[in-house]
Point group: C2
Chain length 687, copies 2
């Protein structure tokens, strides 16, 4: 067993024992342990000795089976532990398998004709060395003025090829984005090379090189580096930042039982897989003693990053970072990096490697609390009687590195019942070479002399499997609109009337919606079987999302065809156990003809009803990034958020139970008493 972070060799133990919390029995949604991974490999090897492994991960039990078991674990059978296998045999033959770890047998084993599974870190790591040794690559480097003895200064970021109609899907390919480092500690992104080798992962050969008609010489600009040593030498690091300490002397306010985190009124199971990274399941809120289901499963299910430069081969730059690389596989070990403050609870992540051994990323998941400012406040202007309560939030996060770029994913639970997904974008821009006198505009920006950063979008697909007081839910598009009645009419004499107009998304073929800021559009996920006793409106969780660009590549473009999920801000589909990946199970080298994932599911059941049934809401959000020099040599983190807010779900403010920092009543003010203070958790000093 190897661990990614060499400093620490503590064995992976399903995250239970490494954290100081009492261990408890496991849960059917727990990720496969290292033992289970290796058991699965052993079972496969008996029948298929020659395969290597692309993925061995938990095959989540069917929702019905798990629901029955959870309802009465004493009497109902616990779903078997089943491993989902992706293996690759001779000649790049791909196999999808299911292995029952309780019965120790293979349940399914299928040859996936013409499919290419995602590129693992191991697949990526091998390309650079091959490229450096390849005569045609050495020749191209020579043309740019890099002598053969300097090939150790040539680097590449291997990407999946996306899709290239010249090569199709039968051979497993990567494209190698080439760079140069004057010295080993220099950022290579200042020195992009203008050609693009194509690598065959099966034969481990460079099979083709895309060379632009007009060549772009090696950049001669001085290095632009971001690590401390370089900055210290150049402009220096500032020394006037005084320490700001965050401490939790009594530890955290949450408990972890197995992989279930219990904090305040929240309970959530924290899963993790190689593809989506963090998976949150069985999310409930304790409403004054009544434990109410809110979401069955939440995950970031897919993303695509289309680049806007039309020049070939840049059209291939539209990474599906989850489906083509794996948000779990690319996850940082937080043993280094000190990414959070206060008392931190970490969980590790276990994967298979190519050879079939288990592999652990130490501290892959960070769970911690943060102060969140004012939770609520009110002062009576008559007498200054005042109540102010501070907020605390629970954050379950991981950070993954997709070659040049970093994605920091924060699942944030608020005391007011809100679930927030915040994503911070940082890392380094993907860059390309510039020719003499060439302008980067309009498809990119020269962010540093000779460095062209192309326009791009980051489009994320959030998979919401709701469970709002039960699995029978309905989605409504909600628009803030003026009354239809004219100004001066009896119904709207003063013209000030407005209301929330609701439109049901009722069938698979019509169950989609674009964003409309003019109506402050949101989407209600409602349980129409349960009305709020006060408002008489269905209990609801509302999707509030304001960073919702459209997919900018044109209809029927390659990206549009491959990333069907990104065509609309919202798709709603009927729940199906096997519909997890909105761009398909195996994403690399899909042509989009036909589009896999959501468009295929809709086409298969266009009239399927979405009304008051078990549904899934797929939300695509993100941003458009026109680079600027401020983003270089490393990009300041740019955050964006999606909110899931309870509306008409509770009968009152659900965080009234949080102790205030200060609270006085009119009678206390009149009596000259000072109200109640609770200041232990505040170190406040007036300077």
């Amino acid at each position: 067993m190897t661990t990614k972070n060499a400093q620490q060799h503590k064995p992976y133990t399903n995250g239970f024992h490494t954290n100081g919390f009492p261990s408890t029995t496991s849960f059917p949604l727990d990720p496969l342990t290292t033992d289970e991974i290796e058991a699965a490999v052993h079972i496969v090897r008996k029948e298929h000795p020659d395969v290597h492994f692309n993925a061995v991960t938990l095959h989540e039990p069917p929702k019905d089976d798990l629901t029955r078991y959870m309802a009465s674990p004493e009497t109902e059978p616990c779903p078997h532990r089943i491993a989902d296998i992706v293996a690759i045999g001779k000649g790049s033959k791909v196999f999808d398998g299911l292995v029952d770890l309780d019965k120790h047998k293979i349940l399914e084993w299928e040859f996936a004709e013409g499919k290419q599974p995602l590129i693992t870190m191991e697949d990526l790591q091998v390309v650079e060395g091959c490229a450096r040794r390849d005569p045609k690559v050495i020749e191209q480097c020579g043309i740019l003025g890099i002598p053969p003895e300097d090939m150790h200064k040539v680097y590449c970021d291997p990407w999946t090829i996306g899709y290239d109609d010249r090569f199709g899907s039968s051979v497993r390919l990567q494209q190698a984005l080439m760079y140069y480092r004057p010295s080993v500690d220099d950022s290579q992104y200042t020195y992009p090379l203008d050609f693009c080798p194509i690598f065959n992962s099966d034969t481990q050969e460079i099979v083709h090189i895309d060379v632009p008609e007009v060549r772009r010489p090696l950049n001669q600009a001085p290095p632009s580096n971001y690590h401390a040593e370089a900055v210290q030498k150049a402009e220096g690091l500032r020394e006037d930042l005084k320490p700001l300490s965050i401490s939790q002397p009594e530890g955290v306010s949450f408990r972890v039982e197995g992989r279930t985190v219990k904090w305040q009124n929240w309970s959530v199971h924290v899963g993790f897989n190689y593809r989506e990274g963090i998976v949150l399941s069985n999310i409930t809120f304790n409403d004054k003693g009544n434990v109410r289901p809110v979401f069955w499963r939440l995950s970031l299910a897919e993303m695509v990053v289309p680049y806007g430069n039309p020049e070939r081969p840049h059209h291939r730059k539209h990474a599906f970072d989850l489906g083509e690389y794996g948000g779990g596989y690319m996850t940082n070990s937080l043993s280094l990096g000190c990414d959070c403050k206060g008392a931190i609870h970490y969980m590790d992540a276990a994967f298979v490697n190519k050879a079939g051994a288990s592999q652990t990323i130490k501290n892959a998941i960070c769970i911690h609390e943060e102060d969140a400012g004012i939770l609520f406040k009110h002062t009576d202007f008559r007498d200054d009687s005042c109540t102010v309560t501070r907020a605390r939030k629970l954050i379950i996060s991981h950070v993954f590195t997709a070659a040049n770029y970093e994605y920091c994913v924060y699942w944030i639970f608020h005391q007011d019942g809100t679930v927030q997904l915040e994503i911070k974008l940082t890392g380094i821009l993907n860059t390309y070479a510039m020719g003499p006198g060439e302008s980067a505009a309009p498809w990119g920006t020269e962010v540093y002399p000779g460095v062209n950063a192309h326009n791009h979008q980051h489009l994320f697909c959030l998979r919401i499997d709701p469970n709002v007081d039960g699995p029978q839910n309905t989605v409504f598009q909600v628009d803030a609109v003026p009354s239809e009645a004219a100004l001066g009419s009896d119904e709207n004499y003063y013209g000030n009337a407005f209301y929330a107009k609701k439109t049901k998304l009722d069938t698979m073929s019509t169950g989609r919606s674009d964003y409309n800021a003019t109506t402050s559009r949101t989407w209600d996920i409602s349980n129409t079987n349960k009305l709020n006793p006060y408002s008489h409106k269905p209990v609801t969780y509302k999707l509030v999302s304001r960073e919702v660009p459209r997919l900018l590549p044109k209809e029927n473009s390659l990206v549009w065809k491959r990333a069907g999920f990104a065509r609309h801000a919202v798709h709603v589909t009927k729940y199906s156990d096997d519909q997890i990946y909105p761009a398909g199970r195996h994403v690399p080298q899909t042509s989009g003809e036909p589009s896999e994932g959501i468009p295929a599911w809709i086409a298969a059941d266009p009239d399927g009803s979405l009304d008051n049934t078990d549904i899934v809401l797929w939300h695509t959000f993100g941003l458009v990034h026109f680079p600027a020099p401020e983003d270089y040599p490393v990009m300041p983190a740019e955050p964006m958020s999606v909110l899931l807010r309870p509306r008409n779900f509770f009968t009152s403010n659900p965080c009234m139970d949080v102790p205030p920092s200060f609270s006085s009543t009119p009678s206390q003010v009149a009596a000259g008493t000072n109200g109640c203070h609770k200041m232990e958790d505040t170190v406040s000093r007036v300077v």
Copy 2:
């Protein structure tokens, strides 16, 4: 001199000496001191002995004079200290005056015919008592079952009348929103009364009562309270929140010189007035030794909260909380409330009272730092060499209470050059009575039995007086759009091309823009005279705002006429010293015929050029609030943000100078050394 917070009587000293920082000479934009206020009153009284005072505030010097002085303070004259006076004489006669505090003389004194200045806290405080004594009000209470001996249980939130065509603008009026408290500590908002007295501020009489045709009885529901004592009694306060301590043992990382705050590369002057509250001026960023101007002046200049219930007299509910009440006048003293953590620097605020004495709000402004998570991070997937740097932010904030509602205003300065305005909405919903069997839908929500909370919008107007490398700026609307070239064409063969389309806002009459989420619309505030040496694009600050609802009341409705600023997301106007208030200087009882403020300024100079000149950008943003029971009895804070981000302003990431938490280079990893750590500011404990 009186102080709002009775606990503390330390004299107001212009905010210099109360803060532990060295006092320095004052700056022409400093607010009037208590001494200056009382001096101005004295000067006015000599000629106008019988007036009482509505406002005595700094009349900011003309920009040209101040610019000249700042350029060479030794040789150029320092602009005189001038007080801007609003006084009210016999018969509600309103006077606008200017007093030169250096020459000790009145410069201007004008009768403001038909104008009604804002309602002060003193104006508000007097209404409740009068209402309780008024026979007609007592009679109405009797009809609802409140006996005369219980009139001390009757409360009112006095609002400006807005505008009521029956009464016009010649008499100074307030409308009294009526409530009842079963006991003094009960929230009155559970017991709204259905009638609305109208109060004459001059004669201090109830001059009319609006009574609905169908009466709504006094609510019989039990109290719904939010203060600690009540919650403790009812459901209890939770006890499982462990302390989270934030401490700055060495104090803050900023200096305050006079009222100028210097933090990292930022320098900003912190002003404050009765109307806008915090005013930030002379904002500069030290770009590697070169101090560059960014903004001349930033403030929240106006807001309007239109309610969506068409039934009279609710059409009058559209508070201009700044122009009709004053965000400064309503500001909380943070001596109570402990609204922030860590090391806090407070500033007081000084105002005049009706009698002409100065009055101080202790700790009106809070200045502090917060940790802000990851500033930037990158890991090299080849060797896990990693740099991660934590962010710090500087927050200048105040909280004001508008009767039932709280607005928390945070001006946030980021190390990456971003200025963020965050506003948190909390407090209590405005509520109205419900009749038996009456439904609150569609214009409101029954948030608690018998309590109708009406739909409403919160629309804020941010005044941006830019100074992007100088006063000559130009505003462009920026839209992310696909290439015009068709899929399959030579220019866009793969259909993936997209770019930033810029449209100049070039004249007063065309200098406006609505929000368009489909194009991820932003607005560039550019200095077209200065190009970024790398990107060759104009140095720019970009307005990024995603919470931008349209004004929902119809065109030509009362709100639409009175709140001209809210008709578009962006208006750009030529700079003028006297154009500060987008809905006019005196807002109460304006009819909107003609519309004051922005529409008037545009009408006066429709062809005025906005190209490469001194301009002001007015941005209206906010949200639509359809209430829900979750918002009651007190509303969990709902945040919203506007960003001003440097784009093509710097030649690189401007926060590279921040020391990292951890940084290692490939060569350090290869050598087995661990890179540089800077962990003093982190207390991180693995549990």
